[in-house]
């Protein structure tokens, strides 16, 4: 974003967050997506989440690959730096960026094509690295930008706009990341902002890799009858399992919950997630149970949503890398230069 000094006109009545900013300060450029595209709702939810968390926009780095979904970082937080990389390679860019500056909030936006086809390997390795970032897959079962081919998340039996019926097994990002030891595994729906916004907030604050698979229908190529990723089908078979309320560090819990119904999880910065479970026996800290739960519902054609698994203990990328607290990019050269004298000393071993 180039900038010009132009005072923006802000409605005086707009609510302000802890930083004194309004939601306007978190908006982005004008979307060029199709009217009704799920992805625009996800952008809106991200705007709300960052606004409500009160994170300064310039402390956020937005990253993406290629696809309609990957265009969206242009449509939120226009005053944050962004990196629209090449197809499927955003996880690598995010890893390098994080290595250089651990002080920023990283939010990656990708598509099911970008992450589950060309980018699958890189995605899996970012999970393995437990890179501290929010990773959103805007999942519509198709390659929107290239006009509606099935993606790897297309369900068996789903029909394409042109008539073809998919027969290949879908890759479920939840199951895959659970198998890889992910530390935050969630699913949302672009059509349910009430569920999505707290999920996003929790993912942003989670120290480690937070995957949120967001069902985000493609109105142009995958919103017809017999598509299992349409708005209608998602609404019908959508199964909220664990609702996550996000409570910032300073706030006290105001809503009243029935005892036993709510399970709090404390995040590294003192925020809490209050998990409200649809089913009594569900345990969002047991990855085998989460796996089983997703598979069993999938077999019934149901799409479970919510924060399905969380683990705040596995060390994140920088902890394992044992890097200093200071961003590497900010260390002055004077502290990095080993000096002339040392160079002479080092070279003794080469005599």
């Amino acid at each position: 974003m180039s900038y010009m000094r132009k005072p923006e006109v802000v409605h005086p009545g707009l609510p302000r967050n802890a930083l004194g900013l309004t939601v306007r300060d978190y908006e982005g450029g004008m979307s060029t997506l199709c009217a009704g595209c799920g992805h625009d709702s996800v952008s809106a939810a991200l705007i709300t989440a960052f606004f409500e968390l009160g994170i300064p926009p310039h402390k956020v780095a937005k990253l993406s690959g290629i696809g309609c979904s990957s265009k969206t970082p242009a449509y939120f937080l226009k005053t944050a730096h962004g990196f629209n990389s090449v197809h499927g390679r955003m996880p690598a860019v995010a890893s390098g960026a994080s290595a250089a500056n651990r002080d920023l909030y990283y939010v990656g936006v990708s598509g099911d094509g970008d992450s589950l086809s060309i980018g699958l390997g890189g995605f899996a390795h970012a999970v393995r690295r437990n890179l501290d970032m929010l990773y959103v897959i805007e999942n519509n079962g198709v390659y929107g930008l290239t006009k509606g081919q099935f993606s790897a998340s297309a369900d068996v039996g789903s029909r394409a706009k042109k008539g073809e019926v998919n027969q290949q097994l879908p890759i479920d990002p939840l199951l895959m990341t659970l198998s890889l030891g992910a530390t935050f595994v969630a699913r949302g729906f672009s059509g349910d902002k009430t569920q999505l916004v707290p999920l996003l907030k929790a993912g942003i604050v989670h120290k480690g890799f937070a995957l949120i698979d967001v069902l985000s229908p493609c109105v142009t190529f995958n919103d017809h009858e017999d598509s299992t990723k349409s708005y209608a089908h998602t609404r019908q078979f959508y199964h909220p399992t664990v609702h996550a309320d996000f409570v910032p560090p300073s706030a006290s819990i105001t809503a009243s919950y029935d005892a036993g119904e709510v399970r709090p999880v404390v995040l590294h910065d003192g925020s809490r997630i209050l998990l409200r479970k649809a089913s009594e026996e569900y345990d969002p800290t047991d990855r085998c149970k989460a796996f089983d739960y997703v598979v069993k519902h999938q077999e019934r054609g149901e799409v479970v949503t919510g924060l399905l698994y969380i683990d705040e203990d596995t060390p994140d990328f920088h902890t394992v890398a044992n890097t200093v607290d200071e961003p590497l990019a900010s260390i002055p050269y004077e502290e990095l230069n080993p000096g002339d004298a040392l160079l002479a000393r080092i070279q003794r071993r080469y005599r």
């Binding site: 974003m1 900038y3 242009a74 944050a80 962004g82 990389s85 390098g96 890398a321 260390i331 080993p338």
Partner: protein, 603 residues
């Protein structure tokens, strides 16, 4: 049969089996000669497996300080019965063939013009050492002992080296000394020592070190202030990152906390490695990767992105033999075109061509400065010969006044002082626009993209806006031309013909120029050190009648660039190509030029 006296001017080649520990004996031998003040050239020829195949180490002793192979072998240390026949055939007339006489030698292994020296290394080691592994290892030290006697190497120097190497493992010094003594004694007792081919102390190695290019490049990265590195292992580039890692572990750890002031990521593949470098550079760190041919191919999409989105990156391509997987443990200079043109579309990269480890060090630093200044990937084209062999180089120097050139980066303050910021606007007319680092200031925010963008960094599909950026990139390449290392030129006005070369061919070319001068064929010389080509390159090419372009590849890749990118006239360029995977020596150059000039005269 007459053996010429070749004091300090001969080649020893040691034939062994890999995985048997001969490498340390060989480098001990080379270092000993080096410490006696005598210049050496060492080349390791090893197979692409881990254990059990033939391997060779060649040491050229060169009082005249040549830097390349001589193309001859005068003393073969044949420790691998499997290769006896070819090893014997390789010895120059008048040379020596030292072998393990524990087992009877095939009678066919004999040459009238070569002196065969048999020493029962295995037998002696088996008698002296109990541990089976020690028996194998000590055989190597045994032949070293024999060579000490035969070549008149200073035993004290060897002792000194052993003491340093095994500073922590004193008990090993003992065993090694014993093995040295075995070989040494046997040689003195059975043969006339020293041979006419021997070492005499000189003082020609003062202020020099023996270092490989990968280690030197890693040192360069350390001194340039690089903090992030990402790579996927591939021979022959792996040791570059290994060295960087070990330097960082020692010199980049915060003492108080034991925490790292660096982050090295072993990535899942090369596509990710370059992606990480771009991510880190975008975020303000100096970052690099090291790879070889196949990795460069895999990086090409991202390299084009870096070029077009204008993000610094430093890539070391330590070339090996291509095409495809090729011969991973052999050397070549065949990635020139793929480096310069890496990626689809109108993409051209800045490429540096270091000639030896010394230049690897200085060019590493230069590469980071250029990448930051030009906001673009810079590829340093080294090769296996430079990267993995120990070369004799002047001691590396550092100026503590050096400060990295981070290029045109706007601080928050500077942003505050200007009415607007447009990421891709050519404010200064040099084709380089101003950038900002993330995390600093919202006013510097922009969305990096590889898709069409205008001067403001905004998405565009407008023909004129698109072209404006593409044209500016050409201007930037013009600026690059003025910033990259200039060619090294050795030239006399009255000489009409010349050689042009780059990288590791330098030593062989210089030696061939000496040889040809002796034959009355004077030649000027230009070593190209970077792409895009400086005006001096153009001028030199235009000023000569015939220019021999020496390259270690089949397709005359530098020549192709010279004619297409420096408008050299193809008719006057004559290619001399060497591409069998072994480091070039002067003979093929001398022969080709002699033949050509004779033909020229005849015609």
């Amino acid at each position: 049969m007459k053996t010429p006296a070749r004091t300090n001017d001969f080649v020893i080649k040691i034939a062994t089996v890999n995985g048997t520990g001969s490498a340390s004996a060989n480098s001990l031998l080379m270092k000993a000669i080096f410490r006696m003040g005598v210049p050496v050239v060492g080349k390791n020829f090893f197979p692409s497996n881990i254990q059990g195949l033939p391997t060779w180490y060649e040491i050229r002793v060169t009082r005249d300080r040549y830097k390349a192979r001589s193309g001859q072998v005068n003393l073969m240390v044949a420790m691998n019965a499997e290769t006896y026949a070819t090893d014997l055939a390789e010895v120059e007339s008048g040379g020596y063939f030292l072998y393990d006489s524990t087992w009877p030698r095939n009678s066919q292994l004999a040459r009238d013009d070569v002196t065969v020296i048999g020493i029962p290394f295995s037998q002696m080691c088996n008698e002296s050492f109990a541990d089976p592994r020690a028996r194998i290892l000590m055989k190597n030290i045994g032949y070293l002992g024999a060579l000490v006697a035969l070549l008149d190497i200073d035993v004290e120097v060897i002792h000194g080296l052993l003491a340093e190497i095994f500073a922590d493992k004193k008990n090993l010094v003992e065993a090694n000394l014993q093995a040295i003594d075995l070989g040494h004694r046997y040689a003195r007792e059975h043969f006339d020592c020293p041979l006419p081919m021997r070492i005499e102390p000189m003082s020609a190695t003062d202020d020099h070190i023996m270092i490989d290019g990968n280690t030197a490049a890693a040192l360069g990265c350390l001194y340039s202030g690089a903090t992030v590195a990402s790579w996927y292992p591939i021979t022959p580039s792996t040791s570059l990152m290994d060295a960087f890692k070990s330097f960082c572990a020692t010199y980049r750890r915060k003492e108080a906390s034991g925490r790292n002031r660096y982050c090295i990521i072993q990535s899942e593949d090369e596509l990710a490695a370059i992606g990480m470098v771009l991510g880190a550079s975008w975020n303000g760190a100096r970052a690099f990767t090291a790879t070889s041919g196949p990795g460069l191919s895999l990086m090409s999409e991202f390299l084009g992105f870096g070029y077009y989105a204008e993000i610094p990156a430093v890539v070391f391509d330590v070339q090996r033999v291509g095409p495809s997987t090729g011969m991973p443990t052999r050397t070549q200079q065949a990635d020139v075109l793929s480096a310069v043109y890496a990626s689809h579309g109108d993409t051209k990269h800045v490429v540096l061509f270091p000639a030896d480890p010394e230049e690897c060090f200085y060019f590493a630093v230069r590469a980071f400065d250029l990448a930051d200044r030009l906001q673009t990937p810079v590829i340093v084209l080294s090769d296996l010969d430079i990267g993995m062999n120990d070369w004799m180089c002047p001691v590396l120097k550092w100026d503590d006044a050096y400060r990295p050139d981070r290029g045109k980066v706007l601080t928050s303050e500077q942003l505050g002082e200007r009415p607007t910021f447009s990421r891709y606007l050519d404010e200064d007319g040099d084709g380089i626009a101003y950038r900002t680092y993330p995390g600093q200031d919202s006013r510097g925010a922009y969305f990096v993209r590889g898709s069409g963008h205008n001067r403001h960094g905004l998405y565009t599909e407008d023909a004129a806006e698109y072209r404006e950026v593409l044209d500016r990139l050409l201007r930037k390449l013009e600026t690059a031309r003025q910033l990259v290392p200039v060619p090294i030129i050795e030239r006399e006005a009255k000489i009409n013909n010349a050689i042009v070369a780059f990288g590791s061919s330098d030593g062989a070319v210089r030696e061939s120029i000496d040889r040809l001068a002796e034959r009355g064929v004077p030649l000027n010389y230009m070593r190209v050190r970077a792409f895009p080509f400086d005006d001096a390159v153009r001028e030199f090419l235009a000023a000569h009648e015939t220019v021999f372009v020496v390259e270690q590849n089949r397709d005359a890749q530098l020549k192709a660039l010279l004619v297409s990118e420096a408008e050299a006239s193809a008719e006057r360029l004559v290619s001399i190509l060497h591409y069998d995977g072994l480091p070039i020596d002067c003979r093929c150059i001398v022969d080709a030029i002699s033949a050509r000039l004779e033909r020229g005269i005849a015609a």
